[in-house]
């Protein structure tokens, strides 16, 4: 263990520089987000993740945001265990009808001001699962969405670009 710690202390860090902010995400956010509310957050975002029927592919990539390559917490962004502690709900999946009420209740439990980020192609419009008897068809069909991050699943770097856009809108870039 000593060797691992020494290697970590003196080795080159694996963490990569922040990616450029996603312009499309900025444009989407600029339309709907209240700058004044954002300023109150400073540069800190607490995220509650809600799987509303994903295949778990998105969860794998959201998990990867915490690994040493992306190190999400250096930006002041962290995942929290309760919606009551969250500024942002990050929702994946096409919203199954069996999860619809749980998603609405989670949204209601999140204090204002709050934002919803829909992650993945299914969260956008139901994706491959659109039209199913068991699917509401996208997060915006159930709760208002401030930012969509597309992809099946979106790579961690794309998730990061979207989240950084959310931070930068609040602080004026």
């Amino acid at each position: 263990m000593r060797k691992i710690i020494l290697d970590s202390l003196f080795g080159r860090p694996l963490t990569e520089p922040a990616p450029a902010i996603d312009e499309a995400a900025l444009a989407e956010l600029a339309r709907g987000v209240d700058r004044a509310a954002h300023r109150r957050l400073g540069r800190s975002l607490a995220i509650r993740e809600v799987d509303a029927g994903s295949c778990n592919g998105c969860e794998l990539e959201i998990h990867a945001l915490g690994n040493p390559f992306y190190d999400l917490e250096r930006f002041g962004i962290r995942f929290v265990a309760s919606p009551r502690h969250a500024d942002v709900l990050m929702v994946t999946g096409p919203v199954t009808t069996n999860m619809q009420e749980a998603l609405v209740r989670t949204w209601n439990a999140t204090p204002d001001p709050k934002w919803v980020v829909a992650v993945g192609d299914c969260a956008f419009d139901g994706g491959l699962f659109a039209g199913s008897y068991a699917v509401a068809g996208g997060v915006s069909a159930v709760v208002p969405v401030d930012l969509h991050i597309r992809g099946c699943p979106p790579a961690p770097v794309h998730l990061l670009q979207g989240l950084l856009a959310l931070l930068s809108v609040g602080t004026g870039g």
Binding site: M1, K3, I4, L14, E49, V50, D51, A52, G53, S54, C55, N56, G57, C58, E59, L60, E61, I62, H63, A64, G66, N67, P68, F69, F79, A81, S82, P83, G93, P94, T96, T97, N98, M99, Q100, E101, A102, T106, L128, F129, G131, S132, Y133, A134, V135, C152, P153, A155
Partner: protein, 517 residues
């Protein structure tokens, strides 16, 4: 089956039992590679009794508009059989009444198809929470009532309390509900309620082309996308009796083993993280990320989604890809010993994993579960070896088995499987040559059926498919390994403390999406 019976005797007895089940039954003409019979009520009951008496193991159990089917095999997985009972009166004799591990699959048949299991002990719905917009895949079913309370099984005694958890969990994981009954810190009973991520995948597959259905199959459980896409492709290829180029089999093998390595590394780190040992999580996360980046460079997608297609694989592997994967293997080989050493020498970590969440071998055998969960509890199964499929039939590998059945054993089986996968990819790359990697699928011209089993990182995935004469999917049933593992999680947590549930759960790592469909 008593332990004194030799495997040859057991195989002989299973053959007799299978013959008895299909006595006088009608064989379905175009079903490959295993036989499929339509049995009468007596034959169906004999199948249930064979399961009850442990002459055969349960591989799958699914329904259709007016029929139910069982996939069964002998314990050695050498004789596989599909039997179907046609439910002329909208009902069928319950298999779960004879063999309880079939219960959740049987409740699902009721939810999705409206068929009634006669004599079933548990009439509660399973995937149907009364919230679907219309009934399941067939029109006979009725949507349940969302307002009706779901009666959890009782646990009575002095000073017992309930802890409801989920469907929205504290971590970044899938949704499901766990109802704990605890006496102080000790769990007396856990009951799961699943179905929250039911997407109606089977219905979406109906009428789809094999290419489109393969994309759906690859999203039954995203962490096993290669294994699912391969199982689906193999079932379609079996139905059409179409041979796939050897190079495609090899690339499927490379991708499947990369997927196994990535997931096992993730689980290894995650189990340690649940014991508050975050360093291992960071180190394993780094290695896992390197595997995913290599997959992205070589196959164009980090999780390798949609790379396996019916008829072969989507694209060949370039020469630089082979060198890239070899560098990755060297990196993992270089780093892994330090991680194993770190795990071995942390008594605080071992204190949490050793002796925690013990799955007794008799339960693993009763549920005929697969994967790491089975192999850490003495059950020596791996469908790569038996029944076997290409490219593994020409490769040498070991199936690591342990007998302790605790969290530690499941961690150690995963590590040993990573080492086997490294060797398997070595062997596969050795023989990688040019040549076609995909063939066109022929038109079936008639109804044809196929079935395949593929060893994902979680265990054996079964896909059964029936193609219509025009080549579209008439009915497809993918069965996740989690079906036979989730119920066992309820068993292993009993008598453990609530705080050890995350460790037990992570060491199983069952799929919610794969189970809920």
């Amino acid at each position: 089956m008593s332990a004194t019976v030799s495997s040859a005797e057991a195989a002989g007895r299973a053959a007799m039992v299978l013959a008895a089940i299909t006595r006088g039954a009608v064989q379905v003409a175009d079903h490959r590679p295993w036989q499929h019979f339509v049995v009468d009520e007596a034959g169906w009951r004999r199948a249930g009794e064979a399961l009850r008496d442990r002459y055969v193991v349960l591989l799958g159990y699914w329904g259709e508009t007016a029929a139910v089917s069982l996939a069964i095999a002998d314990d050695a997985m050498l004789q596989v059989l599909v039997v179907t009972f046609e439910c002329e009166r909208g009902s069928f004799p319950s298999i779960a009444a004879l063999h309880p591990p079939a219960a959740r699959l049987e409740r699902t048949i009721g939810d999705l198809h409206g068929l009634v299991a006669e004599g079933a002990l548990d009439p509660r719905p399973w995937l149907d929470h009364g919230r679907w917009r219309r009934p399941g895949p067939t029109s006979r079913g009725q949507v349940g009532d969302a307002r009706a309370p779901y009666p959890f099984l009782a646990a009575e005694g002095e000073s017992l309390h309930q802890i409801p958890v989920g469907p929205v969990h504290a971590g970044i994981i899938e949704p499901g509900h766990f109802r704990f009954t605890a006496s102080g810190e000790t769990v007396v009973r856990l009951e799961e309620r699943l179905g929250y991520v039911h997407k109606g995948i089977e219905r979406l597959m109906q009428g789809a082309t094999p290419e489109h259905a393969a994309r759906l199959a690859g999203r039954v459980s995203g962490d096993s996308t290669v294994a699912y896409a391969t199982a689906f492709a193999r079932a379609v290829e079996a139905a059409l009796d179409v041979p796939v180029p050897a190079a495609a089999h090899r690339l499927r093998g490379v991708m499947a083993e990369l997927e196994r390595i990535a997931n096992h590394l993730g689980d290894f780190g995650a189990v340690c993280n649940d014991a508050a040992f975050a360093l291992m999580h960071a180190l394993c996360g780094t290695l896992r990320e390197q595997v995913l980046r290599c997959a992205r460079r070589c196959f164009g997608h980090r999780l390798m989604m949609d790379m396996v297609v019916p008829g072969g694989v989507a694209a060949p592997l370039a020469a630089e890809g082979i060198a890239d994967i070899r560098r990755l293997l060297a990196e993992v080989r270089d780093r892994l010993p330090a991680l194993i050493d770190l795990y071995d020498n942390r008594t605080s970590l071992q204190d949490r994993t050793v002796g925690t969440g013990i799955l007794r071998p008799e339960y693993a055998a009763l549920f005929a579960c697969g994967g790491v969960v089975a192999r850490a509890s003495g059950r020596d199964v791996d469908v790569r070896r038996r029944p076997g499929y290409p490219p593994y039939d020409g490769l040498s590998f070991e199936v690591p088995v342990r007998h302790e059945g605790d969290v530690d054993a499941r961690v150690r089986v995963r590590i040993a499987e990573v080492q086997q996968s490294l060797s398997l990819i070595d062997q596969l790359l050795e023989g990688c040559s040019g040549g076609p990697v995909r063939v066109e699928l022929p038109q079936p011209g008639a109804v044809r059926e196929g079935m395949a089993m593929v060893e994902g990182f979680r265990g054996d995935i079964l896909v059964w498919v029936r193609l219509a004469a025009d080549g579209t999917i008439e009915r497809c049933h993918p069965r996740d390994p989690s079906w036979f593992q989730w119920p066992l999680l309820e068993v292993v947590i009993e008598g453990n403390i609530v705080a050890d549930f995350p460790l037990c759960n992570k060491s199983f790592n069952c799929s919610y999406s794969g189970h809920d469909l």
